[in-house]
């Protein structure tokens, strides 16, 4: 594994899968709030439900007494769901107070999450938000009080920026600000945007443009470009031996861990000039669309790290 989970994360996960008392796996029947986030196509999904102790007069004083989840996802997705429920129940929050629980609280509860897994904590926060929204509608609470009236329409109506994970411009823009995301890898780690085919990274209206818009055309980008030019010049000077070594190293360092995360792997069959022939085996490699995405991902990473002229041919 290219990362380590904290003891807390591992323990929450084990407790949950073994169904120990005090864990929150499951679904509340006729819940007072229900929220979902993610989809099976995106690799993880969470269905979050809670029950409140209803205040006889003022629904905004309802208190959450029980929270449960059903999660499709990795170790950290399950642990993050568990964390979310514990935080909410222990806090005895009203739903509106619960909204203050953010992904970083979940990360803190888990005693840290690897960068690549931050999106698991975001998923928890998103599902919570959706559930509170659902509660507000059911209880006739003015949703403006929640400050989250953007929820639905921004997801459904905005321009799609990341097609792989169906993420829209208003959503990504909001998340950049909310979570203080400053680079494309940070965006990907937090909300997955740009994490599959990567074609939305540097296109007009793509992730870099949204970052520039949020934070101003950063010096980070200029230096990244300078670095790229330097690398291109470097690539021209590489001997075939050095070139092949660099391809190998990039695969070991960046690509293989990503593929192994999905139970996949890859093998270089041959390298001819800048043509890299690969065998890719991913959890989804039998699906043609996924195979294509995988190929583009490998090609993108090799282009960025070794040479812009590289083409990957799938064998």
């Amino acid at each position: 594994m290219p990362w380590q989970y904290s003891e807390k994360t591992k323990q929450l996960f084990m407790d949950a899968v073994q169904g120990r008392p005090g864990t929150h796996l499951g679904e509340i029947q006729n819940p007072d709030g229900l929220g979902e986030h993610g989809s099976i196509a995106c690799g993880d999904a969470l269905r979050f439900t809670f029950r409140v102790n209803k205040h006889p007069e003022d629904p905004t004083k309802d208190v959450i007494t029980e929270a449960k989840y059903l999660t499709f996802g990795c170790t950290s997705a399950i642990a993050a769901s568990e964390a979310l429920c514990e935080i909410i129940e222990k806090g005895a929050y009203t739903p509106i107070q619960a909204l203050k629980v953010q992904n970083k609280d979940i990360v803190a509860f888990l005693e840290g999450l690897p960068d690549q897994k931050i999106h698991c904590s975001v998923m928890g926060a998103e599902a919570l938000e959706a559930a509170v929204f659902d509660w507000a509608k059911k209880r006739g609470v003015d949703t403006r009080l929640l400050g989250i009236d953007h929820s639905q329409e921004e997801k459904e109506e905005g321009r799609l920026v990341c097609e792989c994970f169906s993420l829209t411009e208003p959503y990504i823009r909001r998340k950049i600000k909310e979570l203080g995301l400053r680079t494309i890898p940070e965006i990907t780690n937090a909300i997955k945007a740009g994490g599959a085919c990567m074609s939305c990274h540097h296109v007009p209206g793509g992730l870099q443009d949204l970052l520039d818009e949020a934070w101003g055309a950063s010096s980070g980008r200029a230096s990244a470009e300078a670095k790229k030019t330097a690398e291109e010049q470097g690539a021209a000077a590489l001997s075939p031996y050095q070139f092949n070594k660099k391809v190998d190293k990039t695969i070991e360092q960046y690509i293989r861990p990503m593929l192994q995360q999905d139970g996949g792997d890859m093998e270089i069959v041959d390298i001819k000039d800048k043509l890299v022939y690969c065998r890719l085996n991913g959890a989804c490699s039998s699906c043609q669309g996924a195979a294509q995405t995988l190929k583009m991902m490998v090609e993108r990473v090799l282009k960025d790290n070794v040479d812009e002229g590289i083409r990957v041919i799938q064998v």
């Binding site: 069959v269 041959d270 022939y277 041919i313 064998v315």
Partner: protein, 406 residues
């Protein structure tokens, strides 16, 4: 001999379908005209050719009919493709093919090799699967042509031609890709605008799909460098001279039409019969193996090796029972060498000589399979009684037999 014939050698040739025969008759009788002539009756023959050409083009996913060239057989198509490409691009002199091609490709490649071309013959593994990494490594900047069969005539093993063509074109779009699809047309879907779009040249013949012997096709994608093989006439757009075989062309088009009707149903019925035959033999005869069983195979073919007996002896006895089958490739018979395909698959020599190919068709029946299953174990047992490597007492090979010790 009074026994009726059981024909299970359809990879060698097939009976002409009655519908095909009927479609041909008019052009052998009243419509005998030369389609190049000016008078109206001759124009009818010309129209028949263009209609047939369109039917063939439609069969392959609706390609442009002008890319379909009628030839006399698949061997001609293969020769025309390989020599034609070599002639058109004299600057490139490297060819990639496989060790298990039909001689109509293998011998042409070897002929070019004698003329100074470099040829890589890609190996197969023991299941008959192509070594794809070896194929990738063989691609070179001066590669002229890749020629890989779609399915093997002896074992029925299918090669991933669409994938190989894609890899070839992604490497260098000017490399020409040819495939001998003689055993697969009518059996496997071939969409030359879809999965097979990277294939430039494709050969096949009519007599493997219930059209008569003497008609073949070469698909030649527009823009492919390929000089005419037969010259001396304007026919087929100048790419294959010689007066068109109108009746056979009409017959071939009819045969492809028939192949499309109820295709999946017929194929699955054939597959069931083949599986029954195969499992029946495996259950009732010790020391047999199915060659190519570990690879994707055509559903009509089974190639079975019976250890410690000789194929010819099997064929002879089968023939006495009215059963037609092959041992190795019919095209290599006359040679004393066991089949080059089985050798390439490293089938042990104790088994290669005892290989029998049964290949079925839409006309094969359940009772025919029953009959084969009834006589085949006895035939093998008879031969093994005679074999110095077999111990009839235990019905097992003698010790040391696998090393060739009697």
């Amino acid at each position: 001999m009074s026994v009726s014939t059981i024909y299970t050698d359809n990879n060698a040739t097939t009976p002409v379908a009655p519908e095909v025969y009927r479609a041909m008759i008019p052009y052998l009788t009243e419509d005998y005209f030369n389609p190049s002539s000016m008078y109206e009756s001759a124009q009818h023959a010309a129209q028949t050719i263009s209609r047939s050409r369109r039917l063939v083009a439609d069969y392959f996913g609706g390609v442009d009919p002008s890319q379909i060239i009628f030839t006399s057989c698949a061997t001609e198509s293969n020769n025309a493709a390989i020599y034609g490409v070599a002639k058109a691009r004299p600057d490139r002199r490297h060819i990639i093919t496989t060790t298990v091609e039909h001689p109509a490709v293998l011998e042409v490649c070897k002929d070019l090799q004698r003329g100074g071309y470099q040829v890589d013959f890609i190996k197969v593994d023991k299941h008959g699967k192509l070594d794809i990494p070896e194929f990738v490594r063989a691609l070179r900047p001066d590669t002229l042509l890749v020629t890989v069969m779609h399915a093997n005539n002896e074992t029925g093993v299918i090669f991933p031609v669409e994938q190989l063509a894609r890899i070839t074109k992604e490497t260098d779009p000017t490399i020409v890709f040819h495939s001998d699809a003689t055993q697969t047309v009518s059996k496997l879907p071939i969409d030359l605008k879809g999965d097979f779009k990277d294939v430039d040249l494709l050969s096949f013949s009519g007599h493997k799909l219930h059209a008569p012997k003497g008609i073949g096709v070469l698909y030649l994608k527009k823009g492919t460098p390929c000089r005419a093989f037969m010259i001396g006439g304007h026919q087929e757009g100048g790419r294959r001279a010689g007066t068109e075989n109108v009746a056979f062309i009409a017959g071939l088009a009819k045969a492809l039409e028939l192949a499309s009707e109820n295709h999946d149903q017929i194929e699955s019925r054939i597959a069931k019969l083949r599986d029954r035959l195969e499992s029946g033999i495996l259950e009732n005869i010790p020391e047999v193996r199915v060659n190519g069983a570990g690879a994707p195979r055509l559903s009509n073919t089974t190639n079975i090796s019976c250890h410690y007996v000789e194929g010819e002896g099997i064929l002879y006895q089968l023939s006495a029972e009215g059963i037609c089958a092959s041992s190795g490739s019919a095209c290599t018979s006359g040679s004393l060498e066991p089949s080059h395909v089985l050798k390439a698959m490293e089938v042990p020599f104790t088994a290669a000589h005892g290989s029998i190919r049964f290949s079925l068709s839409r006309y094969s029946t359940e009772s025919e399979i029953d009959r084969i299953l009834e006589v085949f174990p006895r035939i093998i047992a008879n031969l093994r009684k005679l074999s110095p490597y077999w111990d009839t007492q235990t019905n097992r090979p003698r010790s040391g037999a696998s090393a060739g010790i009697m």
